[in-house]
């Protein structure tokens, strides 16, 4: 592993990180489209084509930018912070390759805190315009985030206990070297915890319903209510990128086969195809789960997230004991 890392030049690393970035920027909205399509089909509708979210983004980008009265620079900056932090997290994480740019700094804490920074920026933007809904959405999103982030950290920590390092590319490489790890109980527990966190972080159904603007229940939609036009496009893109990133990270950490360990273009192509396939499979699974379940009452959401946290803790404990 260290050999591949040292032989991979900086230029090649940059190329591969750009490939990851382009994949998630285009793929994130398509994952959203796929999930909407699966839901539509399960409900007996035909549904919009899978690239509909990309079309929506293009439509929004051509509109006139409008800011809420009395809003400050926070409202204008937050979308860029959201997209920027997501982009950095994507560029340094092992999604397509085990040797992305800055691989030595791609620690699990760095990646989780980058995501957290984006969430905080969005919550501040929700508060900025001073509307009732924005504040309510921000407060709810922070409550959920405060429970989800520790669970995410501990779930990835379970993998790093097993691999003996908190560096994400090294965790992926260690899993490749020990295929039997993937079926162990600690991996299964951590995967379930990770999926619960993904549902919470991206505002999917048991936690939040992305397709309604019902004031009693909305969380994420309430925060971005003040956005319109190009800025709404950037916020939506940021959210899609986070969804795509978290699903890709799940695929890479738990089922890393197919990921490129060298700079060979053919390997890279295989890695891109494998990652797309894995993410689509997980996304379809999540979408089917969403169709089957009802949204939880807001006061029951902490129960779900604490459950995820306990599963993650169990995973770490099991990992420590069975070592």
């Amino acid at each position: 592993m260290t050999a591949t890392m040292t032989t991979t030049g900086l230029g090649a690393s940059i190329v591969m990180s750009v490939v990851q970035l382009v994949m998630i920027v285009l793929g994130g909205p398509i994952v959203l489209g796929v999930m909407a399509k699966v839901r539509a089909r399960a409900e007996g509708r035909i549904g919009a084509p899978v690239h509909q979210p990309l079309r929506d983004l293009r439509k929004l980008l051509t509109k006139e930018p409008i800011h809420a009265e009395h809003s400050s620079a926070v409202l204008a900056i937050a979308p860029f912070v959201l997209v920027g932090t997501a982009a950095v997290a994507i560029a340094v994480s092992p999604l397509v390759t085990t040797a992305p740019v800055l691989a030595h700094s791609a620690d699990l804490f760095v990646v989780v805190f980058l995501l957290l920074m984006g969430s905080v920026a969005l919550a501040l933007a929700g508060l900025d315009a001073g509307t009732a809904f924005g504040g309510m959405g921000s407060s709810r999103a922070m409550t959920i985030g405060a429970l989800a982030e520790p669970a995410l950290l501990v779930a990835i920590l379970a993998l790093s206990v097993q691999a003996g390092t908190s560096n994400l590319p090294k965790i992926v490489a260690a899993t490749l070297a020990h295929p039997s790890w993937a079926a162990g109980p600690e991996r299964l527990l951590a995967f379930v915890a990770f999926l619960i966190v993904v549902l919470a972080e991206t505002g999917r159904i048991p936690v939040d319903n992305p397709s309604t603007h019902l004031e009693l229940t909305m969380v994420h939609e309430a925060m971005v209510l003040e956005y319109a036009g190009p800025e709404l496009a950037i916020v939506t893109l940021g959210e899609a990128m986070r969804l795509g990133f978290l699903l890709s990270l799940a695929a890479s950490l738990f089922l890393p086969w197919g990921i490129a360990t060298s700079t060979n273009p053919l390997n890279l192509l295989i890695a891109v195809v494998a990652l797309s396939a894995k993410v689509v499979v997980i996304a379809v699974g999540v979408a089917l789960l969403e169709v089957r379940t009802a949204k939880l009452r807001l006061f029951r959401v902490p129960e779900l997230l604490t459950g995820g946290f306990v599963l993650a803790v169990l995973s770490v404990v099991t990992g420590l004991v069975t070592r």
Partner: protein, 219 residues
């Protein structure tokens, strides 16, 4: 069965026992709780079966089958009939909320792992390493008994304790003798049948069995 396959299978089955224990605390729906208990019984049977296959022990294999049928199928089926269909009868009432009890569960599990460190150090092998899971299941069972107010939840707590004890017995001694295990299993089955009959009679004469409303004894 031997080699890494044995280790993985044992780890997975024992892990399933622990996760099912946590799920009984997680879900409010009593039927889901009973289903988790049923899965735990099956996982316990699988643990015994894996050990039997590893040690080529026919007696243990028979016990594994008995455990699987008794704890995985028969007892949960009896409990399921007890849950009832009336309004409010499906929700388990707890004296502390679910989030708090899950955090306590995590703490209990860590305590179990810390407390049995000395025990596992005596004979370091795959099966002994998993005994903390049995202890954790016992603690979770006690916790369920203390904090839940519905009779069904309390029976589930009792059975959780029994499952934990059985798991420790299987892992440490590769199973107690067949006759002792038979006795213990039949005993538990009898207890559940008696509790079920008792609970039904109570339900018929007194209405729903929320133990907090039981203020005085009648003769």
């Amino acid at each position: 069965m031997s080699g890494p396959g044995y280790v993985d299978a044992l780890d997975l089955a024992a892990g399933a026992v622990l996760v099912c224990g946590v799920i009984t605390l997680w879900r409010r729906d009593l039927r889901a709780t009973v289903s988790a208990l049923s899965l735990q019984g099956i996982a316990l049977g699988v643990v015994a079966a894996v050990l039997a296959a590893h040690e080529h022990d026919v007696g243990l294999g028979v016990i594994a089958g008995l455990v699987l049928v008794a704890k995985g199928i028969v007892i949960p089926a009896l409990l399921r009939r007890l849950v009832g269909h009336g309004p409010g009868s499906r929700e388990g009432a707890a004296s502390i909320n679910v989030s708090a009890s899950l955090v306590v569960a995590a703490a209990l599990i860590v305590v179990a792992f810390l407390a049995s460190g000395k025990l596992t150090a005596l004979l370091p092998d795959t099966a002994t390493h998993l005994t903390p899971i049995g202890l954790a299941t016992v603690l979770l069972g006690f916790f369920l008994l203390v904090t839940r107010r519905k009779a069904v939840s309390q029976i589930v707590g009792l059975l959780l304790i029994d499952n934990g004890v059985a798991l420790v017995a299987f892992l440490l001694t590769a199973g107690v003798p067949l006759i002792v295990e038979l006795g213990a299993s039949l005993d538990i089955l009898l207890v559940v049948v008696v509790l079920r009959v008792l609970a039904s009679t109570m339900h018929r004469t007194l209405g729903p069995f929320d133990l907090d409303q039981l203020r005085e004894l009648h003769d």
